[in-house]
């Protein structure tokens, strides 16, 4: 778990992200985007997790590194479009972020409607109407967040961040929120 040093707006009065200790004053959304834009970093992740990734997809035998890389690229483009739409006032964040729930944990990761896997997740806490702060994000490759070290870490970070906000006098609701919920 990383200590929070400050909060930075991405889009004033709508979307913000935490800056954590040791991250050289770069907010967590900026760090996530840089990591996910690096094919080299994704390849290391794929190599470490390829068995889990294969088990997460219906057509596991045919799901290759190239498929994974392509799906992440499309997820990333969708995420970039989403941030751009928020900046241009086209999206209300209350309609885009969904509470983390059993629903998220029980569905198959493969999105049948889109005919492709959707891997990227952004985690956030709702501060007020149409105002969220991003705590982190992950490539979600297991159905339950508790089942992978990365998403388990994100749950801890969400808990810690909510407590930090509480210490600043900001009481939030009980839910944590996720973008790219299914």
């Amino acid at each position: 778990m990383k200590d929070i040093t400050s909060v930075q707006f991405i889009i004033p009065n709508k979307l913000a992200a935490f800056i954590y200790k040791g991250d050289m004053d770069i907010n967590i959304l900026n760090i996530l985007l840089s990591t996910w834009r690096s094919v080299d970093d994704l390849f290391q992740f794929y190599e470490t997790n390829k068995r889990i990734i294969a088990n997460s997809t219906i057509s596991s035998i045919f799901y290759s590194w190239e498929n994974f890389s392509e799906d992440i690229m499309l997820d990333l483009e969708q995420l970039e479009d989403f941030i751009d739409d928020v900046a241009n006032g086209k999206v209300n964040l209350d309609n885009a972020f969904h509470p983390l729930s059993r629903k998220e944990e029980n569905v198959k990761i493969l999105s049948l409607r889109k005919h492709r896997c959707k891997w990227l997740r952004i985690y956030a806490i709702r501060i007020d109407e149409n105002l969220y702060v991003i705590t982190g994000g992950a490539i979600k490759i297991t159905q339950k967040m508790q089942d992978h070290i990365d998403t388990r870490y994100e749950l801890t970070q969400l808990d810690y961040s909510r407590q930090w906000l509480k210490d600043q006098g900001i009481e939030t609701d009980e839910s944590f929120y996720c973008y790219f919920d299914l």
Partner: protein
């Protein structure tokens, strides 16, 4: 009493302008960035298959390891010369037209003097049943 929004606006004191600028750039350049991303994925797969490091590839290409690292990040606007070098050194096809070029040079599919028939790759469905 202050609302959550008002309290939050006090602690969030700065704005990151870099993210939106970068997104605008990436959206404007999405077509070639996708290609660069796919090339990086192919190069990384080939390096692993051939048990080569990025440093090995840099030596063979006569470029710096930092440049190869840029290539495999998938955000580099590569020249045709670099792409061709990668194809030759890693024995992979990046530009699909390369194959056609080989056939057209060594085995012409169409004789201009005889009755011109469409080559099989045009008359038959190239992608089979794929939709």
């Amino acid at each position: 009493m202050k609302t959550n929004r008002e309290k939050f606006n006090i602690i969030a004191t700065s704005t990151d302008t870099e993210i939106l600028n970068e997104i605008a750039y990436r959206k404007a350049n999405r077509d070639w960035l996708r290609k660069s991303n796919r090339i990086a994925a192919k190069v990384l797969a080939a390096l692993k298959e051939q048990n080569m490091s990025q440093k090995d590839l840099a030596d063979k290409m006569n470029v710096s390891p930092q440049y190869v690292n840029k290539i495999v990040k998938g955000n580099e606007n590569l020249t045709l010369a670099t792409i061709t070098k990668l194809e030759n050194l890693l024995h992979i096809i990046i530009l699909a037209d390369t194959e056609k070029e080989i056939y057209s040079v060594s085995e012409p599919l169409i004789s201009y003097e005889a009755d011109v028939k469409e080559p099989s790759y045009i008359t038959e469905s190239y992608y089979g049943d794929a939709v």
